[in-house]
């Protein structure tokens, strides 16, 4: 059919760090901001991985390798916009303003971990795959109904495209012309299942054809491509142009989660090679070098600053008030119902007795 041929991978900066698109004007500050946010995301990911190994947080979901896709797209949305992440998208949420402390709390199994800062519309990470696409469509549709120019951005993986909710989400957004950016991170795997077993189509972008949704395929490790193409999609959505589907082709270096062993289903050598070739941070480093803008000290300064920020956040998370069972009982309904109140009372009575 050749529907895939319609979607060549859009690249702004190639692996060697050379600019591929003439129209783009490079700004040193912006490049450094991108770089900073990606370094921050990567350091946070490493920290969490270590904490998990030390048993200080629970099962953790890594994103190392996907920083450009998440950071670049998150920087393309603004105050008042809505973000719908999955369990793997904290590089996106932290770049959109979610607090590091809360991210730590999330991985410590705390409900507080999902609470975004006041004024920032970030949904709790979706766990049932693809279910969040509909929420994004609905929240965006609500903005349209309010005649605002706010939009939704929603994250999902290659595996998520197989669920019915992916289809229904794109169709509802298309029919109601909702201002949503469907941001797919095609990291090639859904846990152990490679894309070739997930679908026969060669691209995810072509799935947009089913809904007459403008679609594109970009190099998800090229933060300039990610940022600028997402900005375009967001602008279209803001100005009443409806949804866009973006397939960002990327790769996760590590395991699916800390409970996963990737050597069961793929050769991890691939990741080692990619660290030296297609890495999103490296690419910006090379670009900066090619532009003559690179400063090694700047990198060290960044890392020091980020280390401090992360340690501070971790400290706050670790001395955060212990989980309180009332959180569970208090937030099922606005007004308590008797079965829950009885259960609360009984539970507390026994807990008290247990302590005595």
């Amino acid at each position: 059919m050749g529907a895939d041929n319609q979607f060549p991978v859009i690249q702004y900066v190639n692996e060697a760090g050379s600019l591929k698109q003439d129209e783009v004007k490079l700004h040193k500050e912006q490049l450094y901001q991108f770089y900073f946010m990606m370094v921050r995301a990567r350091m946070m990911d490493k920290k969490c991985l270590n904490l998990q190994r030390q048993g200080r947080i629970g099962t953790y979901v890594q994103y190392e390798g996907q920083e450009a896709a998440q950071v670049g797209s998150a920087l393309a949305v603004e105050d008042g916009d809505w973000m719908f992440p999955t369990y793997r998208d904290h590089a996106a949420t932290m770049s959109f303003g979610h607090s590091l402390r809360n991210l730590f709390l999330y991985w410590k199994g705390r409900l507080e971990g999902s609470i975004p800062p006041e004024g920032r519309n970030i949904f709790p990470p979706a766990v049932p795959i693809a279910s969040q696409l509909l929420h994004a469509a609905g929240a965006a549709w609500a903005e349209k109904k309010k005649n605002s120019d706010r939009v939704s951005i929603v994250y999902f993986g290659d595996g998520a495209t197989s669920e019915g909710d992916f289809h229904e989400g794109l169709n509802f957004a298309s029919v109601f012309h909702a201002p949503v950016v469907f941001f797919n991170q095609n990291n090639g795997y859904a846990i152990s299942v490679p894309m070739e077993k997930q679908m026969k189509s060669k691209t995810i972008a072509q799935k947009g054809l089913a809904y007459d949704i403008p679609s594109l395929r970009i190099d998800g490790n090229d933060i300039l491509a990610v940022y600028h193409e997402t900005v375009k999609a967001v602008a279209r959505a803001r100005s009443g142009g409806g949804p866009t589907l973006i397939e960002a082709v990327t790769w996760r270096y590590g395991a699916h989660t800390t409970a996963d062993d990737p050597s069961k289903y793929r050769d991890q050598q691939e990741s080692e090679i990619r660290r030296k070739t297609t890495d999103p941070l490296l690419r910006v480093e090379r670009l900066l070098k090619n532009q003559g803008w690179w400063k090694e000290e700047e990198k060290e300064r960044m890392e020091a600053e980020i280390t401090k920020e992360i340690n501070q956040a971790l400290k706050e998370a670790e001395k955060f008030k212990p989980a309180d069972i009332d959180e569970l009982f208090d937030h099922v309904f606005a007004e308590p119902v008797w079965p829950i109140e009885e259960q609360r009372k009984q539970h507390k009575r026994l807990s008290r007795e247990g302590i005595q």
């Binding site: 999902s114 509909l134 929420h135 994004a136 469509a137 609905g138 008797w338």
Partner: protein, 333 residues
């Protein structure tokens, strides 16, 4: 035509339901109606008749044919300032939306510690007895009373339908509102033209009695009343009939009070017996009035089979004969 007092109208249940939605849509412009065929067509049962004419297509929305899509987008709408009333065309077509109901609509408040809430009503016509095709007659309220974070409401008459639906729309959390198809047009009662609401979680005493209590809801209330009338003509025991109205949370006080008085219980519902709400009722009685019970609770329910095609649906449904037999049985002890 019978005379109707000022401020009252004689309405069928389906009209009372439309009236409730209209009332709330006039009062609160965040209220939306969404579903398959709810707009131009006014709903396959005409429950949304006239709403699109009055409120326009931004507020009364014909959606694509996708129940998960309807509930899922409504979660987004609800969190972002709207109050969607979602129609499932039949209760038996709610299943594709199960995931969105179970993991999102009902958990959003919890998952966000109250930051995001989902004021949403899911309406669904339910039950057998109207010769509908397969799957159209399911009565699966018990699947939803077990879903944390969801209230479940089932009116039995036009007056309650309007008051309970208004209360459901005003509830800040998701409410499943199931409507007995058999009652949609089976009779008219006086319904106030103005807004009123009936609190969720409160049962109604349909008939006072002293010797045995029948707990039921929805279309089974009519059947029970008829069976009891007939039965009392030839028996001296007096039956109390309680229309539970809300199935989650159950009205524990009403159950307790009545069982303490009568000591004998019959539960009537059309869902299959195992896993039905009768289990919850018996469980509440066990907790709240165990020592008052003089005889085992009798259950008159559907079978543990799929709701059959219509040639057999009358056998499946609780009948006056079966209710009578249960009364006789429970009074034997």
């Amino acid at each position: 035509m019978t005379t109707v007092a000022a401020g009252l109208k004689k309405l069928t249940m389906v009209q009372a339901i439309t009236d409730a939605m209209r009332t709330m849509m006039r009062e609160n412009e965040t209220v939306l109606v969404l579903g398959e065929d709810v707009g131009v067509n006014g709903g396959v049962f005409r429950a949304t008749d006239g709403l699109i004419q009055e409120f326009g297509e931004e507020r009364v929305v014909d959606t694509p044919l996708a129940e998960s899509g309807i509930i899922g987008t409504s979660v987004g709408l609800a969190v972002n300032g709207f109050t969607p009333i979602c129609e499932m065309q039949f209760f038996g077509f709610i299943y594709p939306a199960f995931n969105q109901i179970m993991t999102h609509a009902t958990r959003m408040r919890q998952r966000s510690l109250g930051r995001y809430t989902v004021p949403m009503v899911i309406r669904a016509p339910y039950g057998a007895g109207v010769k509908a095709p397969e799957i159209h007659s399911d009565s699966v309220e018990a699947l939803f009373t077990h879903v944390p974070g969801l209230k479940v409401v089932a009116p039995s008459n036009p007056y309650d339908a309007k008051g309970l639906l208004i209360a459901s729309i005003e509830d800040p959390d998701p409410v499943l509102f199931i409507e007995p198809m058999r009652c949609y047009r089976s009779g008219r009662t006086e319904v106030p033209e103005d807004k009123y609401s009936i609190p969720l979680g409160k049962a109604a005493k349909v008939k006072e009695g002293t010797d045995v209590t029948i707990f039921t809801w929805g279309a089974m209330v009519q059947d029970t009343v008829q069976a009891v009338q007939k039965w009392e003509e030839t028996h001296e025991e007096v039956c109390e009939i309680i229309d539970l109205r809300t199935l989650y949370p159950l009205d524990k006080e009403a159950i307790k009070e009545s069982v303490e008085k009568t000591g004998r219980v019959v539960v009537v519902h059309e869902a299959p017996e195992t896993g039905g709400v009768s289990g919850d009722i018996i469980s509440v009685i066990n907790d709240a009035a165990f020592f008052y019970l003089k005889a085992p609770v009798q259950k008159v329910t559907g079978f543990d089979t799929p709701v059959p095609v219509y040639s057999l649906e009358q056998d499946f449904l609780p009948s006056a004969r079966k209710i009578t037999a249960a009364l006789e049985q429970v009074l034997k002890y």
